[in-house]
Symmetry: D3
Subunit: 153 residues, 6 copies
Amino acid sequence: MLLCNDPIKIREFITLCPPLISKQRREASRLYQTYIIMGKLINDFESYRTKMNDRIMETANTNIKRFFALDTTTYADGALDVKTKEMLGLVASMVLRCDDCIKYHLGKCHEAGVNHDEMNEVFMIANLVGGSIVIPHYRRAVEYWDELNSPES
Amino acid sequence: MLLCNDPIKIREFITLCPPLISKQRREASRLYQTYIIMGKLINDFESYRTKMNDRIMETANTNIKRFFALDTTTYADGALDVKTKEMLGLVASMVLRCDDCIKYHLGKCHEAGVNHDEMNEVFMIANLVGGSIVIPHYRRAVEYWDELNSPES
Amino acid sequence: MLLCNDPIKIREFITLCPPLISKQRREASRLYQTYIIMGKLINDFESYRTKMNDRIMETANTNIKRFFALDTTTYADGALDVKTKEMLGLVASMVLRCDDCIKYHLGKCHEAGVNHDEMNEVFMIANLVGGSIVIPHYRRAVEYWDELNSPES
Amino acid sequence: MLLCNDPIKIREFITLCPPLISKQRREASRLYQTYIIMGKLINDFESYRTKMNDRIMETANTNIKRFFALDTTTYADGALDVKTKEMLGLVASMVLRCDDCIKYHLGKCHEAGVNHDEMNEVFMIANLVGGSIVIPHYRRAVEYWDELNSPES
Amino acid sequence: MLLCNDPIKIREFITLCPPLISKQRREASRLYQTYIIMGKLINDFESYRTKMNDRIMETANTNIKRFFALDTTTYADGALDVKTKEMLGLVASMVLRCDDCIKYHLGKCHEAGVNHDEMNEVFMIANLVGGSIVIPHYRRAVEYWDELNSPES
Amino acid sequence: MLLCNDPIKIREFITLCPPLISKQRREASRLYQTYIIMGKLINDFESYRTKMNDRIMETANTNIKRFFALDTTTYADGALDVKTKEMLGLVASMVLRCDDCIKYHLGKCHEAGVNHDEMNEVFMIANLVGGSIVIPHYRRAVEYWDELNSPES
């Protein structure tokens, strides 16, 4: 549905909406399918990040581009493997309480094969070191991690 | 109204929407009643917090559960009363600039009977110690505090 | 359109929505015009900020009002000009990672005549000093800066 | 003793130092008496703070002086009493991890009659909200609090 | 030497000091031996930490003691091994810029067998995520890490 | 004097110390001359910074070296001049409360010709944005700025 990007409301709308606005209804159905396949939080985060990183590459100066390059090479496989580095990036992001950074590293940790028990231990270190002020970010991290681990993602 | 959860827009929609989509209209009316009774910001915060805390209790390891237990016992009545402790929790949340933590402790301060003049003095200490960077969070705190103190809440 | 304040979706809705709900359609058209003229992000930020600052002036105590007065006089033309001071306010807001403060000072920097190359050097200092944790805020800053510099703003 | 301001070392020096350098020895005895009466940490903090605040009042501009004035009036007795306000200032200082601010508010809490059990509950809220990263500051706070509560202080 | 705990100055003093103050000279020699064996920074950090943790265990309330217990169990071998957890604790401490926490986790990383190349990659992630504001802490971390890895430690 | 690096105590020692320990006395005189010429705080900061940066260049990996290179090029003359950039670096360092970073940028601001009135306006923005938690760092900044501007420096 064009007015809303919440999959639950979209499903409700499909049921409720009057027959005559059939074009909207088809659109709503189509969007809902997308969410089932992809996961709304992941999709929102990834699409905005990609859009703005593209814009940064168009507008940034050389130093900024070098800083972004460094951000990539730092997490490459080296003396420490990618999985360890991504957990390090995640815990740093959690104690500094940056939701987007947390989402990014959760995605990378998922790709690198961090399992549920390992992730819970990273979460605990972040909560302990950073304190209860981290808890709202931890809540959102659990929601995102769930989406990453849902069968459809 | 299924497409939107802003009570003002819901009321406008009820006035505007054509007679034939009556089911949506009834739903919108019902939702609007809820917002009148509860307050949208409070409702949004509380429902997400409850949902994710439930999920955390399903997924977390023992240490995380102990940390959450500690988060509860710390604010219990003791040498300092609950009202003082909740103001301490609030000022700490404000200088660390965590909106969700601020909402949580505003709710608890309201329950504990903190009045407007007292709350303004907590706000001032937070703004002074934390600096003008706290102001946007203070704005949102005032909005939430207003909602907590509205006759309908 | 009353149910949504995303200009792209509004435009799509105008195209899609059935002829009979003509009042909504007119309203949607009108809102869309506003967004074209003003810029959605700027509009959202400015209107909320104004609303809550008004509310603060109604409710705050004397010390808070003095603090807000100090927040104004600090950025006035003095030994340093307004342009330099607003860049100082911006870089401080970026390393402390406060999106609303960043938007505020981006608007003031734009008014004070900071150009693209200068802004990129402020962005770089913020990214360097504050680290990659600043990047998500930098993305949103670029989006807002683009809107400030779009021909319609 | 002129070369050292550690009371324990001063006492040891008095015992050890050869009879001929009697002037140093007398000076060491005198300094040691001061430390017994005042407490070294308190003395170091207070004397530096006073010295630099004096220098600031000589050099600062009007806005800075207003900011310092605001810092004083904010903690004055009002809707909340001084004791509560100083505990608020302390917990804010602890979660932001500023040792000098912690010392200042510990001193003020001591004057305002905060007792050991109350202080431990403030310490716990600071540790919980701010996390284990607060612990080194908590250690130094306990040391300073002990000095404030020692019979000689 | 009783007046000074800098091993280089102690050695210089031993060379310089006049024969008659032989007791001081013997003491200085003894202290210097200790520094050779142990490492001054490690010794200073460990002894203060132990002293104050002992004092905390004497004075703290039950919640604080539980928080300290949690701080221990969190880093125990589990789904993640001790080495990984200590690197997580270190990177969190570095981006939050707490020198004592950094020292503590450097010591634990050293015990857990983190090698130089691995440590440099942890350092880089901390510098990148936390920004150049981390550099002074990184300098002190390198100094401490060198001491941990010196043949005498 | 070998046991102490406080110039005031050194001068007192020179006056007090018994004639027989003449070698120490000469050394003390020499050191005191150095302090008169250089300024103790500047000397301490610069010498440690240089020593550890040298050690970092010996031990760091390629990414860290690139990060340090970026730290240099970022403050070079460009669309913004060095003076403006150094004030940006300073205000960022003050709100993030890093004493060593503050000292570094104070030194650079001094070289770039920032005058007292300008510096006070930078200090005010830092205090305002960062809050009263910045004040202890502001005190140390004033002390260092005084030393930079003393006739001997």
